[in-house]
Structures are given as structure tokens and as C-alpha cells.
């Protein structure tokens, strides 16, 4: 004898359908996003280079340049998130997307280490050039890999994502 009233088959189906609808909606956080323009990665490459150049200037100018660069980067990120329309919390990202995010952070840390090493061992201008090239490449590769992962996630869930306008 059951201690609770057994759920009917229809209520089970309804529950399963609700969970599926919820799961699909939550995937959209990661699969619906505006593709970035081609100028976006080089702009961030330039900002990274500017941060390196700032170190070669007098201390007061270093601080001023860093504040300016951080403000520009902040405005850029805010603008992108505003266009995207969603700020993912990072919790519950699909594994394929999470893998790309992790790879990006590893690449980001390695890039910083490489630029610092170049600054210390070669020169500030070589480090600035490296920062521009490496961060432009990093963001370009990340965008391409993220797009591929998002497409895989969307197609695995049976979703067809409509292309969104470039910001």
C-alpha cells in the first residue's frame, strides 16, 4: 500500500514536460547571444597593449592610464551585456560551454604570464606588441569556439536558434 497518492501518468508527463521546458529555457542563457563584430577582439587587444605601455610611463601616468583603460573596458563589457540582454550567473552552464569558459581562463592566465615574462626579459614595446597579438587571438579563438559549443548545445537540445543582430 502506498503512503502517498500515486501520481497519475498524465501528471508525470506534465511534470516531465515542465522540466524539459525549463531546461530548454535555461539553455537559452548560453545559446542566445549576439555575435560580436570583427573589431571587438582587436579593441581588447589594444586595451591589453595600452596596459603594458602604461608601465613604461611615470608612476602617476601609469595610474591615470590604467584607470582610463579599466573604464573603457568596463564600458565595453557593460555595452556588450546590455546588447546580450542576459548576465549569466555561471551556475549550471552546459558542460560544453563550461569547458570553453575554463579554457578561456587558462588561456587568459597564460597570456598574462607570457606578457609579464616578455616585459621583464625583452622590453616593454615587445610585451605591448605581444599583448595586442595574444589577446586579440585569444578573444577571436574563444568567440569561435564558444559559437561552435553553443551550436552543439542548442542542436543537442533540439533547439533552433535564430541568428541575432551584431551589436
Amino acid at each position: 500500500m502506498e503512503s502517498e497518492p500515486a501520481a497519475s501518468a498524465s501528471s508525470r508527463n506534465s511534470a516531465a514536460n515542465q522540466l524539459k521546458a525549463l531546461h530548454d529555457a535555461q539553455l537559452s542563457i548560453y545559446t542566445r547571444y549576439p555575435t560580436v563584430s570583427r573589431w571587438y577582439p582587436p579593441i581588447f587587444g589594444l586595451l591589453a597593449a595600452a596596459m603594458v605601455v602604461a608601465f613604461a610611463t611615470p608612476p602617476w601616468l601609469t595610474v591615470v592610464l590604467w584607470v582610463v583603460v579599466m573604464c573603457v573596458a568596463g564600458i565595453g563589457v557593460h555595452w556588450y551585456l546590455d546588447k546580450r540582454g542576459v548576465i549569466p550567473s555561471g551556475r549550471g552552464a552546459p558542460p560544453a560551454i563550461r569547458r570553453e569558459m575554463r579554457l578561456f581562463y587558462v588561456g587568459y592566465c597564460l597570456s598574462i604570464a607570457g606578457v609579464i615574462a616578455c616585459y621583464l626579459l625583452v622590453s616593454w614595446w615587445a610585451a605591448a606588441l605581444l599583448a595586442f597579438v595574444i589577446f586579440t587571438a585569444l578573444i577571436t579563438v574563444y568567440e569561435a569556439r564558444y559559437a561552435r559549443a553553443a551550436e552543439q548545445v542548442a542542436s543537442a537540445a533540439g533547439r533552433v536558434e535564430l541568428p541575432r543582430n551584431k551589436p
Binding site: A21, Q26, R32, D82, I87
Partner: protein, 107 residues
């Protein structure tokens, strides 16, 4: 797990999906939500109004004129409600002998 454990407000799939997106985001803009859920402006407004009335979300407006945007953020009460509802749904589905469903958590 019985139907009694389900939250009547979230038994509507549109409201559940909308709150589910909010639960996994810091903030969500109206147009994104409308496109992601495939709803009309008026339908989404109605569903979000019901969730706001239950204190499950807060609303923030930005910009002016054509650039005006409405952002939604889930509240602690909303997070608790969806967690309990999802738990009840998972319980219902897993009572069934052959009814696998994607495990969804509300955190």
C-alpha cells in the same frame, strides 16, 4: 511527492521557464526573455507581473525613450519557490518507473 507540493503559480510553464532563466542569471532583459521563451510582449508582461506580485522578482528600468529597457532579477523568495517546485517535479517524474527526465536544479 504529490501534486500538493507543486507551486500553483509555477505550474504555468511560461512562468516556470521565465523564473528558471532568472534563477540562472544575475539579470535578464525583457526582450531577451521574450525571444528566448517565444512569447508576445503582452503575454510576457502578464506572466512577469504575476511573478512580481508574488515577490519572486524585482524589476529595474534603464534608459529613456526607445532605449528604455526592463531588467528582471530573481529574489530570495523566487529562488526558494522554484527550487521547491523543481524538487516536486523531479519527485513526480522519478516516481514513474520508466520516465527519465533531464535532472534540473533550481540553484
Amino acid at each position: 511527492m504529490t501534486l500538493d507540493h507543486l507551486n500553483p503559480l509555477l505550474s504555468n510553464t511560461k512562468r516556470l521557464a521565465a523564473l528558471g532563466v532568472l534563477a540562472k542569471s544575475s539579470e535578464v532583459e525583457f526582450v531577451f526573455l521574450r525571444q528566448a521563451l517565444g512569447l508576445s510582449d503582452s503575454d510576457l508582461s502578464k506572466q512577469m507581473g504575476a511573478l512580481a506580485d508574488a515577490d519572486y522578482l524585482t524589476t529595474r528600468k534603464t534608459g529613456k525613450g526607445r532605449n528604455r529597457k526592463t531588467w528582471f532579477k530573481i529574489t530570495g523568495a523566487g529562488r526558494k519557490a522554484i527550487r521547491q517546485h523543481i524538487s516536486a517535479l523531479n519527485g513526480l517524474v522519478h516516481d514513474a518507473p520508466n520516465a527519465p527526465a533531464p535532472p534540473v536544479d533550481g540553484r
